[in-house]
């Protein structure tokens, strides 16, 4: 911990280039979010006022009432949660096994496998939606949670496998070799040596998969067109009509979709941070 060992004290603890940079980052990241939050409490007329008002002059909850009345937000949130959590868990499990094998085990043909996975990822999603629809129709998977989970897992696995493989590559070999000498099988090595060191990569791949599935629109729209199985991004797309983009209502709905995730991350921010930084190779 030598780098962070030089603890600053007093004013310098708070006033140094790093903290100032951090503050700047906070402002830049938060400003648009602040604007979204503020607008969600404005009336349509105030939302269209120029010069714009920095906070609502006449705050109203109408947008939220609208957003929650017009569509079944609770249902959409539930669908999104089921689909995204399941996809993420499955992706991580499969990717950990595959990533470890591709990084460490002496298989011939790892190169083609990695490139093949990459080739799957480079193909634009827009073009696979229609054939996927046909397949799912044949299999009776349309309008179900599984109908989204399966393609989500398949299309997000390549990134997770790449991510895990590349980060497991530079895990020290000594521990693994020691385990092998001790007579540990591959699976035991995986559990006792690799898993503890794979934390940051698993976390990153997990957050990536979750964010990607949480925000995915085109497949969710096409494959689950029934109201009962729509996810949040599709639900939000139903707001408004042909001509009007009701910014206030959309932002209110977006807040309703974002706040639960944000609260979770905030409450568990320590866990998030340690998930990301544990497995740090101590010197």
């Amino acid at each position: 911990m030598s780098r962070r060992g030089r603890r600053r004290t007093g004013v310098r603890r708070y006033l140094n280039p790093v903290t100032v940079g951090g503050l700047l980052l906070v402002v830049v990241t938060a400003a648009p979010l602040y604007w979204m939050a503020v607008t969600s409490f404005k009336s349509p007329v105030e939302a269209g006022a120029s010069p714009p008002t920095p906070f609502p002059e006449d705050p109203t909850l109408d947008n939220y009432r609208h957003a929650l009345d017009a569509a079944d937000m609770g249902r959409y949130l539930y669908n999104s949660a089921v689909v995204c959590v399941s996809s993420t868990v499955i992706v991580l499990a499969l990717a950990l096994l595959a990533g470890y094998a591709l990084a460490r085990l002496p298989m011939r043909g790892r190169g083609p496998v990695m490139v093949g996975l990459l080739m799957i990822s480079v193909f634009p999603v827009i073009a696979v939606v229609t054939p996927l629809y046909l397949v799912e129709r044949e299999l009776g998977l349309l309008n179900s949670h599984a109908g989204l989970i399966i393609p989500y897992v398949a299309f997000h696995l390549p990134f997770a496998v790449w991510m895990l493989r590349n980060s497991l590559l530079d895990l020290p070999r000594e521990l693994e070799e020691a385990a092998t000498i001790d007579g540990a099988g591959v699976l035991r090595t995986l559990r006792s040596v690799i898993l503890p060191g794979a934390g940051p990569a698993l976390f990153t791949a997990g957050v990536f998969t979750f964010a990607a599935t949480w925000t995915e629109f085109l497949m969710a729209l096409t494959l689950n067109s029934e109201n009962d199985f729509r996810t949040i991004p599709v639900g939000i797309a139903i707001y408004g009509d042909r001509y009007q983009v009701p910014y206030g209502v959309i932002f209110a709905a977006a807040m309703a979709a974002t706040v639960p995730v944000a609260l979770l991350v905030l409450v568990f921010r320590r866990a998030v941070l340690s998930g990301l930084t544990d497995g740090a190779v101590k010197g």
Binding site: T29, P32, A47, S50, L97, R108, V153, R269, L273, V281
Partner: protein
């Protein structure tokens, strides 16, 4: 100790571990991808009996290559990808280093950074569209305070492209930062100490220790950012619909329009296939330049 039989056994276990992932990916993706590639070589008609292949032909590709819309979209998409990914990479590394060094509020900052990233793209595009709105947008208003005659942000090519890049960078820099941070914390402390002993300054340490060690994770970050940036779709779709003129029309938009507006399946598939090939080319080139880890030996390591 790596007797041939042991190696063979370990390889078998390796395939056993890899297979579930491969089977899922192959089962779901091979048919749709192959289907699209095949359709791109046909003229298809939609009939009451479904899709009917009328003709096997190269005409979709011929039309595409001869179309100025495609060439313009190609140039835009390439340029946009290079610029946004480069900026996001630099900023992402900076943010990761900052997060690593920060002594107060790390958890809070990380949580904040995750919000734009987990925002639904269509919504964040609408948010930026609202900020850039020519009559009441906050950014337009801010520019009005600075300039005598502020540009119509989304109605003039250069500002429109810049505005789109800003929205993209805001949303996806955290993605790069988190990946880099995950790599950063795993650099063994003794490497820093060694550099310190050598009398290297902060910048030298960064260049000679940190950057090389980050290579594997950065490779993944860049690779998949290139994929995403090349497929950029929601953002121009909501912000500019490709305008002004065709200044912000991306390849993915072109393909989407052919498939879902024009219902021209063959043409849409051709645009998608060509895009896929281009991205693949870019990625392989990148990996080669980056000399990263696709080699059979898998021994590349960080140094």
């Amino acid at each position: 100790m790596s007797a041939p039989s042991l190696t063979r056994q370990r390889a078998r276990v390796g395939w056993f571990l890899t297979l579930p992932a491969l089977v899922v990916v192959a089962a779901v993706t091979i048919f749709p991808v192959a289907y699209s590639v095949a359709i791109s070589f046909t003229r298809v008609g939609l009939t009451y009996d479904g899709l009917r292949v009328e003709d096997w032909t190269l005409s979709n590709y011929a039309t595409m290559l001869g179309s100025s819309a495609w060439r313009e979209a190609l140039v835009f998409t390439l340029g946009y990808t290079v610029v946004t990914v480069a900026v996001e990479l630099v900023l992402g590394i900076a943010v990761a280093v900052l997060l690593d060094r920060l002594e107060v509020g790390r958890g809070w900052l990380l949580a904040l950074l995750l919000i734009p990233w987990s925002m639904i793209t269509v919504v964040s595009a609408q948010l930026w569209g609202y900020l850039y709105n020519a009559t009441y947008g906050a950014v337009t208003w801010g520019l009005g305070l600075l300039l005598d005659e502020p540009p119509v942000i989304l109605g003039t090519p250069a500002p429109a492209i810049t505005a789109m890049a800003v929205a993209d960078i805001w949303k996806t820099t955290p993605f790069v930062a988190v990946i880099v941070l995950a790599g950063l914390v795993r650099i063994p402390a003794e490497r820093y100490e060694a550099a310190e002993v050598d009398g290297a300054g902060a910048w030298r340490t960064f260049v000679s220790v940190v950057l090389p060690a980050l290579r594997p994770v950065v490779a993944v970050a860049v690779l998949f950012r290139v994929l995403q940036a090349f497929g950029i779709f929601d953002l121009p779709f909501v912000l500019t619909q490709g305008g002004p003129g065709t200044a912000t029309q991306s390849l993915a938009m072109l393909g989407y329009r052919a498939l879902f507006h024009d219902l021209d399946m063959g043409m849409g598939a051709a645009v998608a296939t060509a895009t896929g090939l281009l991205v693949l080319g870019c990625c392989l080139l990148f990996l080669r330049v980056f000399r990263s880890h696709v080699d059979e030996a898998g021994e590349g390591g960080a140094t």
